[in-house]
Symmetry: C2
Subunit: 334 residues, 2 copies
């Protein structure tokens, strides 16, 4: 198995990307990572930091251009033909890699994957699915920003696709799907929510009804479906608040550990940070395209990248796209 990594994408590229690839290879042995980007820059990191790593498991595919984080995706993909995102997506399409991971420009990754790989037959819009919550207690939220002009059928497909992710990639049996709403009663909600609810109720899925924003963290459902604008706000609010609470925590509690000469506490503090750290998650999965595309946070460091690569490997092992295609077919024949 081979995972193509956009070595030039993200705020900390290529350094943390290459280091993340090395970390993933060290942890798991059944795949290679294809590093896509400027060969000399990638090799410089490997030479300096990992001279002993087995280079056969870290092939490089040179790409001269880099898509900037804030660049217009459409312009970038059109003008920078030799960019690392397009090159990596091409490698997957040609069978030279089995999945794609990027911490780069999200719009370019989503747009590129949709353009070069096409959507799975029957799917009208791709969506990004991200697990949110604390360790061991998270729900998958879909869509977190790929599609802000959602129709009820897009949301139905999102629920089904994330349910397959949950079941086959994460091993969660018969995942529960809920629709994000602003109250648990059926009378609540906007038109999109009400129309989508009717579709879910008529579909062969384990739909449990509505859930509210706070329920995401109580795992009331395994999959929480919402349109991309709302989902993106949920994602950013969660990340922002978690970060703010971490800073407050460091300021108020963390800084006093050494003063108090309490070394045992330092361990608990590290554990708390880890349990509530979004970097543990690895990334979002773009569902609905003909291929596996994991989108990591722009600020990803090596740990987040290695987790994103591991997540991509799980998708490959589970043959997720094939199962999603069968799922869409099943919904169509209802």
């Amino acid at each position: 198995m081979r995972i193509a990594l956009d070595a030039m994408g993200g705020d900390n590229a290529p350094y943390e990307m290459v280091m993340g690839a090395v970390e993933a290879l060290t942890r798991e042995s059944d795949f290679e990572v294809l590093l896509v980007g400027r060969q000399s820059e990638i090799e410089a990191v490997l030479d300096a930091e990992n001279p002993d790593i087995d280079r056969e498991r870290l092939p490089i595919l040179h790409a001269e251009d880099v898509v900037g984080m804030d660049e217009s995706p459409v312009d970038a993909l059109r003008k920078k033909k030799d960019n690392s995102i397009s090159k990596a997506l091409g490698a997957v399409r040609q069978g030279a890699a089995d999945a794609f991971v990027s911490a780069g420009n999200t719009g370019a990754a989503v747009g590129g994957a949709t353009l070069f790989w096409k959507l799975i037959p029957g799917v009208k819009r791709a969506g990004i699915a991200v697990p949110l919550g604390t360790r061991g207690n998270s729900s998958i939220v879909i869509d977190v920003g790929a599609n802000i002009h959602c129709k009820p059928r897009h949301l139905l497909h999102y629920g089904m696709m994330a349910s397959i992710y949950c079941e086959h990639v994460l091993g969660q049996e018969n995942p529960k799907i809920a629709l994000l709403n602003i109250g648990s009663e059926d009378s609540k909600g906007n038109t999109l929510v009400k129309e989508t609810q009717q579709l879910f109720e008529g579909a062969p899925l384990n739909f449990i009804g509505h859930c509210e924003g706070g329920d995401i963290f109580e795992k009331k459902a395994d999959v929480v479906v919402c349109e991309g604008f709302v989902g993106n706000v949920v994602l950013k609010v969660s990340e922002g608040l978690a970060e703010t609470m971490h800073s407050q925590f460091e300021e108020i509690v963390g800084g006093h550990v050494s003063n108090d000469e309490n070394v045992g506490m330092a361990q608990h503090i590290r554990e708390f940070r880890r349990a509530t750290d979004y970097a543990e998650i690895g990334g979002g999965a773009l569902l609905g395209v003909n291929g596996i595309c994991i989108i990591a946070h722009g600020r990803s460091g090596r740990r987040a990248i290695s987790n994103a690569i591991s997540l991509a490997a799980k998708f490959v092992r589970a043959e997720a796209p094939k199962k999603i295609e069968a799922g869409v077919d099943a919904l169509r024949n209802e």
Copy 2:
């Protein structure tokens, strides 16, 4: 000054409501609290817990009916004529009280205030404004769920009204207003956001453009404007995540304090909880109605209620409704 409190609203009514009123009176001396609800139940709490309190500052207005937390607001207001929410709203309308505080059924409080007090001339929809963030670092988010069928003009008024709240009630000079979006570039966002942005850009307000979900906690803006569905999700996600992080914190760090024989740490832990606790906030303000209405969380305990009462008193001192009326006028004459 007299604040009318719905003594029967909320999960912990009437006990915590009455205790919250007592706490507020003990803290501040320039107002009375009119306790609205079942006289015998209210008196039982006062007799048992606060026999020495000055009853002249705690008058009671009897109301026989109670609106259930999950009851349909429309049905409840129509059928239960003698309910504590309607009675308290009536007291304010007749001048027997200057503001209303409730932790009860939000729909009934919003619907009742709109019905009995009417909207401020020129305002088309009332909105709920809630400060979100950690202590000393919060933005006011409006609307968090009063109006899920928002038009650009509603959002413009929300921004203006919350700006007056910020300036005159919280003492923040020339508050910055931002529109919640899923990216900071102008090209991003749905139709509602794009149309609303144009209105803000043409208005005499300190509009600074877009902000993302995470920016709420970094105080990029003093006021963050969004439609009620999104805002309600933001509120619930924030509360839910903060609660989850507190539990994780207690489980991982808090429980080890005594084991580690570290008493100094206990103080920091309490401080962290307080700094990131949503009960500190007190409640949301319903803006756009002819009167002052503070909506506290259904789970409010005495501290949240006393803070909500203090917030109501600040609105009265600032003569906020009059200033909002002038603000709407100014926008109309643009």
